[in-house]
């Protein structure tokens, strides 16, 4: 089952503006992650980053259909999801650098970016762990009679973990407003999806549980956009959960330090040829968007993220008291003796 591309003909002007916004978002995600990977590789930023470069159409195509009051849960490769949901890019970059003012006060880092103020309930360092959390968020929202849905991003590796089965069953059983988004970038860490996943994959597994699913080319921004529109509308109409299986390709290694020598260079080059950003830009040019405007969008995104990185470099470290704060109120830890 696959969605139809938007019908031909001149789109309404606001539709073009919406797609331009999607392009801007995708550029911002890519620019953020290029700075993040460079910061990590140079040793400026501690820890590791998992970049979603090449997958931007999935985060953008889904989140542009969400409202601020909707929630998302994300995974370890979550910068794009956070930015797409409206998280503060400056605070995210400060967090990657482990600096004061970071999105999590320097206590989470790249793998635990969260911005509850825009409904981003957190990236997650454990594969599949965001799935039950998303289900519960939807259940809680339903109990509170709040008109909001939850989108749950996970990778192809997550479909082999128990929480995937448990969560889909749960969401279907209680008819919860959850959009499961399997971002299938071809690799679970260093292992190809096909070597790790039996059967026909995420969409087939979802259908077997009674969760209607769509499969799309996740590098085709317009296809993701159309599929997400259809699925989100069905969920908002009270139809219960849906799953979007978006096939894409992870341009970078598993982490910023993984040279990904387990795959041929030609394969990566071919994936880059299918660059979702370039293709969306071409589609917009075909719709009459000015080439200068398209180029400016890219330049602005790069300038924005460079500035965030400069700010992160210059920012002070967190106050050491933060190490002992926000553990728990009852039985809070005593700070270490100096």
């Amino acid at each position: 089952m696959g969605p139809n591309r938007p019908p031909g003909g001149a789109p309404p002007p606001n539709e073009t503006a919406r797609l331009v916004a999607m392009l801007r978002l995708m550029h911002r995600i890519r620019a953020f992650e290029r700075e993040a990977v460079a910061a990590m590789r140079s040793g400026e930023a501690p820890g590791v980053v998992h970049a979603s470069i090449g997958q931007e159409a999935v985060a953008a195509g889904v989140c542009l259909h969400l409202r601020r009051t909707d929630r998302i849960t994300s995974n370890h490769r979550g910068h794009g999801h956070a930015l797409a949901k409206g998280a503060d890019a400056r605070a995210m970059m400060l967090e990657l650098y482990g600096r004061a003012g970071g999105a999590c006060g320097g206590k989470g880092g790249s793998m635990h970016i969260a911005d509850f103020s825009v409904g981003m309930l957190g990236a997650n360092g454990v594969v599949g762990a965001g799935i039950p959390i998303a289900c519960g968020a939807a259940q809680g929202l339903k109990l509170l009679r709040q008109d909001a849905i939850v989108a749950c991003f996970f990778g192809d590796g997550a479909v082999n973990r128990g929480p995937f089965l448990e969560g889909l069953n749960w969401a279907a059983l209680y008819r919860l407003p959850v959009l499961f988004v399997c971002e299938d970038n071809g690799f679970a860490a260093f292992t190809r999806t096909a070597e790790a996943t039996a059967g026909a994959g995420a969409a087939a597994r979802a259908e077997a549980i009674g969760v209607p699913a769509l499969s799309v080319d996740g590098t085709d921004a317009l296809a993701v956009d159309a599929a997400a529109a259809e699925l989100v509308a069905a969920i908002r109409a009270g139809g219960g959960p849906r799953l979007l299986h978006a096939r894409c390709y992870r341009w970078e290694g598993h982490t910023g330090t993984d040279p990904a020598a387990y795959r041929p260079a030609e394969e990566v080059a071919a994936a880059r040829e299918r660059d979702p950003i370039r293709r969306l830009a071409e589609a917009l040019a075909g719709r009459g968007v000015d080439a200068g405007e398209i180029a400016a969008i890219a330049a602005e995104a790069e300038a924005e993220m460079r500035a965030h990185r400069e700010a992160a470099r210059a920012a002070p470290p967190p106050d050491l008291a933060a190490a002992f704060a926000d553990v728990q109120d009852i039985g809070a830890p005593a700070p270490c003796r100096a």
Partner: protein, 321 residues
């Protein structure tokens, strides 16, 4: 005050909290049928299936969904059915619930309760009898309580539901049908405040959960003036009360149903010695289970249990040392 079973005391406490706060709800297997120990009996009829949620056997999702629901502003009571089944949801409890507030820099709060009916009961053997409180006390972010009286079962549940931290309640299966006087309107318990179950001057005996009545009975028959301290909560725990008593008696015994090795008794003993100094005690002992799984046959189960006889012997041994 009425005499209530532990199950009934907690049932009434939960109902009262659910009437008081519409964001409180419970989820777990067979809750609509009253829960396996009757601790939810009648609640589905009063509160409906949306607030007393009968779930699939799906521990990871029960735990994880509880967290998700807490993050959007509800206060779930997560029922694990049998404490051992929590092991199917340890990532959700240890790496998600306990960490969420901290690792997101204070953005999210896991205002939830995890009820874990644990310990030996009706010869349930190795996978339905474990006491794993030491595992959870070890995890920053969690409050851990272990009621040993019907009153505390109710008062600690109320406190747990109102608490802004995630609270694990180590309930004892063997106590569900035990009765005690319960003041239903009693205020929520205070975490970290122990109860002196029996006053005495010769030996300080520290215990919790299902071992509380065992130790009280043993103290009676020991012929020793034993001070019995029911910790009630394990994190935080009432170090001051234990240290004060041990400083007086200078003889300390810790009794728990869990395996002795690496058990919470080790923490209690270590802290008392840190506080009183290496010469601060004349005698110290831990009495728990040997490092063996819990066996099935009653005679074998008794062999790994801290029975009243063994506890009484230990009290006398520590008193005489």
């Amino acid at each position: 005050m009425p005499r209530l079973t532990f199950a009934e005391a907690t049932r009434r406490a939960l109902a009262a909290e659910m009437r008081r706060d519409p964001t409180v709800w419970a989820l777990g297997e067979d809750l609509g049928r009253g829960g396996i120990f009757g601790q939810y009996r009648g609640l589905a009829e009063e509160f409906g299936p949306e607030r007393i949620v009968s779930t699939p056997i799906s521990e990871a999702c029960i735990m994880g969904a509880g967290l998700g629901a807490a993050l959007v502003g509800t206060r779930p009571v997560i029922e694990m059915r049998i404490a051992d089944f929590t092991l199917c949801a340890m990532d959700e409890l240890v790496s998600q619930i306990a960490k969420v507030r901290y690792m997101f820099g204070g953005q999210g709060r896991a205002r939830l309760v995890v009820r874990m009916p644990g310990g030996m009961w009706r010869n349930s053997a190795a996978q339905h009898s474990q006491c794993l409180e030491a595992w959870l006390v070890h995890v920053p972010g969690l409050v851990v309580a272990a009621p040993g009286t019907a009153q505390d079962a109710a008062s600690l549940l109320k406190a747990a539901i109102r608490c802004d931290d995630p609270v694990v309640l180590m309930e004892s299966k063997n106590l569900w049908t035990a009765e005690g006087e319960v003041e239903e309107d009693a205020p929520p318990a205070e975490f970290g405040r122990a109860r002196i179950a029996r006053q005495g001057g010769e030996v300080t005996v520290v215990t919790w959960a299902a071992s509380v009545p065992v130790v009280e009975a043993a103290a009676e028959r020991s012929g020793v003036s034993a001070e019995v301290i029911d910790l009630r909560s394990l994190w935080p725990w009432d170090e001051a009360a234990v240290v004060a008593s041990a400083a007086r008696t200078r003889r300390l015994l810790v009794v728990h149903e869990a395996v002795t090795v690496g058990g919470f008794g080790a923490e209690v003993v270590a802290r008392v010695i840190e506080r009183l100094g290496p010469g601060g005690l004349r005698a110290v002992e831990r009495l728990g289970a040997p490092r063996a799984p819990v066996p099935f046959a009653p005679v074998l189960e008794d062999a790994v249990r801290a029975t009243p006889e063994r506890v009484a012997e230990a009290i006398r041994r520590v008193a005489a040392a």
